[in-house]
């Protein structure tokens, strides 16, 4: 069941999907509040005795902290409290730990090493914003400046400085196996050999700041019954609540989070940095505390859409058909993961763009550099590579001497085609888009291109999964020992094969870290997908000598493809107690493309040293949700 169907199932009575809006004037639902100045923002809430929090931030890209001297700051007028790393109860987190994806690796306040300019090393709570600023300026931090790395490919070299000690190879670990996300579909080498032209290109984009008019911020205050209320600008209220509960080691039932109007989010208000700090301030002082970024902070430490670099290699037939396409992608995550790891999973499911190409391969790297951590922004994970793909399509059109719109229609995906991540394409409309764009812009296309339709010509042989060549180059840590080429298939000692028609390596979500996180259908009212992932029979895999079979990025098969039910026993927990089927659903947001789990993991999956939060201890209910969901 795709995420869209999942949504329809759960929210069927809340939203009308029969939209008839195009071409009609529609009033935004929030516009009356905006134009009359009545939309309430978090900063519109007034509190008696409000305190202000500001951060002392790193002036260096990369430096070890020798000492922090707050003596003078503590004695300054108006200063109520200096907050250091030791005041944060559980000072290590990664945002996606809430869905069991990635290792805890970022501190709310640093005490050992800073890895980007603006990383917080202390926070000051004072009577006024100005007093807090003056006290921040009086904090003396002794830094030992370290070498830094700002380019993702330089960060991959074996002698690059270690940005993030939890990931000593400067890359996010995918599936406990590779230092990048692999996607393999067919055999690109064969496609290149059959092609008349090889077209190569390199494309890159810089980070983009979401630049909301309302900067990120939150006000937290003690409430009755030992609870804390937090008014926040967040665009992901329960994400922020869960993150706060974890970092502060506090039951989520003690947190009363109130969102509301977001003064511009665009992806820049999901990182949940301001809420934990303001609630911590309220806990430490017993008074209302506001933590609001100023414009400089929003631009300097507000996580942007990360920089990306892409190399695309196409094998193209004389008539314009693209026979093979290989991608090498680098996402600059900055110093910490935030959401970049997930962007790459989503991106890999999108490749090779809205085209049906019989042979596709990609290696996408989530690289740590000493830059501001990157996070979500509109079209997250897709926008950068789409820019590269469409530039490259023009280059291909030029090479083969075809009208660029006709080239796109020729290669467009159609309903029923198999995408490389092994989902059937549906609701495709690229052809119609191209036709309308050509018509509106007065760009002439041939009669044949005009006759094409996304509804026709798809499926059949185009719905088949080809025999797929795999490799296991680029295992975690390999690049630290010696240079390994980054392009797909290069640097592999040997190749493996996955038989045609096979889904690939079965996928299940990472096992729940704690027993009470297993979703209980009886309580949630949701029974999960109607079928479970296919397991490849061992006979289907040609062993790749002594190496693990390479993971082809593959999603659970569509519901119409029934398969054996047994998920791989890849964790002790699952061996001890098989979870109900619903546990195999990866929670949102990466539900569309959960990570591949190797058939025989080299080691046990990552598990944090201590479970987080003391949330509501009720079976079937997330620790981070204090209320119960609708049933």
């Amino acid at each position: 069941m795709s995420s869209v169907e999942f949504r329809k199932d759960l929210f069927n009575d809340e939203r009308d999907d029969n939209l008839q809006e195009i071409g009609k004037p529609t009033r935004r639902q929030d516009i009356l509040g905006h134009v009359t100045g009545r939309s309430p923002y978090y900063d519109d809430h007034l509190f008696d005795g409000l305190l202000h929090m500001r951060c002392v931030r790193s002036p260096h890209h990369h430096a070890r902290i020798r000492s922090i001297d707050t003596g003078m700051a503590e004695r300054m007028p108006g200063v109520i409290r200096v907050v250091l790393a030791r005041d944060v109860p559980n000072n290590l987190n990664t945002l996606l730990s809430l869905i069991n994806f990635g290792k805890d690796e970022e501190k709310l306040i640093q005490d050992t090493k800073v890895a980007y300019i603006g990383e917080p090393v202390a926070a000051i709570i004072a009577e006024t914003d100005r007093q807090a600023r003056d006290a921040c300026a009086a904090v003396k931090v002794d830094y030992e400046v370290l070498n830094h790395v700002l380019d993702p490919e330089e960060a991959l070299s074996s002698d690059a400085p270690v940005v993030n000690e939890i990931y000593p190879n400067n890359t996010f670990d995918y599936h406990d196996l590779y230092d990048h996300q692999k996607l393999r579909f067919g055999d690109v080498e064969k496609g290149f050999a059959e092609a008349d032209h090889i077209v190569e290109g390199e494309y890159q984009m810089s980070p983009i700041e979401q630049a909301p008019i309302e900067t990120c911020g939150a006000i937290a205050a003690p409430e009755t019954n030992d609870r804390y209320v937090c008014y926040t600008s967040t665009q992901a209220l329960f994400f922020s609540l869960g993150t706060t509960a974890k970092l502060l080691n506090m039951a989520s039932s003690r947190l009363h989070f109130i969102g509301g109007t977001v003064g511009g989010g665009f992806g820049g208000k999901v990182d949940s940095i301001v809420e934990p700090l303001s609630v911590l301030g309220a806990v430490l002082t017993g008074r209302p505390v506001k933590f609001m970024w100023d414009r400089t902070e929003e631009m300097q430490v507000g996580a942007p859409r990360g920089a990306e670099r892409w190399r695309i290699k196409d094998g193209v037939a004389r008539d314009g058909r693209i026979l093979a396409r290989a991608f090498t992608g680098f996402f600059d995550a900055g110093a910490y993961t935030r959401l970049s790891s997930y962007a790459i999973i989503k991106c890999s499911a999108h490749l090779p763009g809205p085209y049906t190409i019989p042979n596709v391969a990609s290696n996408v790297f989530c690289v740590f550099t000493n830059r501001t951590p990157a996070t979500a922004m509109r079209g997250f994970g897709i926008t950068g590579v789409d820019f590269a793909i469409e530039c490259h399509m023009d280059k291909v059109a030029e090479t083969v001497g075809l009208n660029p719109i006709e080239l796109r229609i020729l290669n467009a995906y159609r309903d029923g085609d198999m995408k490389p991540h092994r989902r059937l394409a549906k609701n495709t409309a690229l052809i119609e888009c191209c036709q309308v764009a050509a018509q509106k812009s007065g760009w002439s296309i041939g009669a044949d291109a005009t006759r094409q339709s996304s509804l026709l010509g798809g499926g059949g042989a185009r719905a088949e999964i080809p025999e797929t060549v795999t490799d296991s180059a680029g295992r975690i840590g390999e690049r630290r020992r010696a240079p390994v080429p980054t392009a797909p298939g290069e640097g592999a000692a040997s190749k493996g094969h996955v038989r045609a028609g096979t889904q690939g390596i079965p996928i299940v979500a990472a096992a729940p870290q704690d027993e009470d996180m297993v979703i209980d259908p009886a309580r949630t009212g949701y029974r999960g997908p109607s079928s479970t992932p296919t397991r490849i029979p061992d006979a289907a895999m040609t062993p790749d000598h002594s190496l693990q079979p390479a993971a082809a990025a593959a999603a659970p098969p569509p519901a119409s493809r029934p398969g054996p039910v047994a998920p791989p026993s890849s964790s002790q927990y699952q061996q001890a107690k098989p979870p109900p089927p619903a546990a195999q659903m990866a929670p949102e947001p990466p539900a569309a493309q959960p990570p591949a789990v190797p058939q025989q993991p080299a080691s046990q999956p990552y598990k944090p040293e201590k479970p987080f939060s003391r949330g509501v201890n009720r079976p079937g209910v997330s620790r981070f949700l204090s209320g119960s969901r609708r049933r």
Binding site: R130, R295, T296
Partner: protein
């Protein structure tokens, strides 16, 4: 804490100068800084009635602008029509209602486009102690200047002798990538005594002596201005900032100067 002191005269205000003290003109830069916690400001001095220093008047071949005259005041005065394009290039309507002539002279890079025009028009300042001072001399030492400006007198150019161009990334009212003001008096079709000033190409608005010298005696056509365009790089060493690198500014400065001198793309 920021304290506010209100005084009756400019002389009182000047007497209040000191560490952490700032004089409030239109407040478009000062109050933005204060709202964002500018730690250099702990005391603001303001005039009770700035209107007395907000006049615009004609003085023979010159015009006199009160230091507290706003960009909106300039735009309303027919006496200074030649400065309307310059005033309109400063901020949006809300900024122009507040931003003052005197404040513009002290506006840090990349702001201060109005001062660029004043510099080209041979502006002379009347200071709070009654002395006269050339704008150029004040700009060279404005970081340490403790006097305040009472009024500014600038030349009134003839015909289309005065030209101004502001180059921005954001249209129509971004901060300057660069701005250029040129006063080009002509005798028998040839330039005589040109003054050319650049904004956002140095820490303060600056004149370009090599360009001015290269324009002496030439006619305003492609051949005539060639040497002046080549001289631009000799006079300027622009800074990097978030709007443009110094390299970029230096590369495009001759292009924009050419457009200004040949009347292409002036506003």
């Amino acid at each position: 804490m920021v304290t506010i002191t209100t005084v009756e005269t400019l002389q009182d205000a000047a007497a209040n100068k000191g560490q952490g003290t700032a004089f409030l003109g239109g407040g478009t830069l000062l109050m933005r800084g204060v709202n964002y916690g500018d730690q250099n400001v702990s005391r603001i001095v303001r005039l009770r009635q700035p209107e007395s220093l907000a006049g615009v008047s004609s003085e023979g071949e010159r015009v006199r602008l009160g230091a507290c005259a706003t960009m909106a005041t300039i735009l309303k005065s027919a006496d200074v029509a030649f400065l309307h394009a310059v005033a309109r290039a400063v901020g949006g309507p809300a900024i122009r209602n507040m931003a003052t002539v005197g404040g513009n002279v002290f506006a840090p890079h990349p702001y201060g486009d109005f001062a660029v025009a004043l510099l080209a028009l041979d502006a002379k300042l009347r200071m709070s102690d009654g002395s006269e001072l050339e704008l150029e001399r004040l700009l060279a030492a404005r970081e340490t200047e403790t006097r305040l400006i009472e009024s500014v007198s600038a030349m009134r150019p003839a015909g289309d002798d005065f030209r101004f161009l502001k180059v921005t990334r954001v249209k129509p009212r971004g901060a300057s990538v660069l701005s250029i003001a040129a006063w080009l008096p002509r005798r028998a079709g040839r330039i005589s005594g040109a003054r050319v000033a650049f904004g956002a190409m140095a820490p303060t608005p600056v004149r370009t002596p090599a360009v001015e010298a290269a324009l002496e005696g030439v006619s305003l056509d492609q051949n005539g201005i060639d040497r002046a365009l080549q001289s631009v790089a000799n006079d300027l060493n622009p800074p990097d900032d978030s709007l443009a690198s110094g390299w970029y500014r230096k590369e495009v400065a001759p292009v924009h100067l050419k457009r200004l001198l040949l009347g292409q793309g002036t506003r």
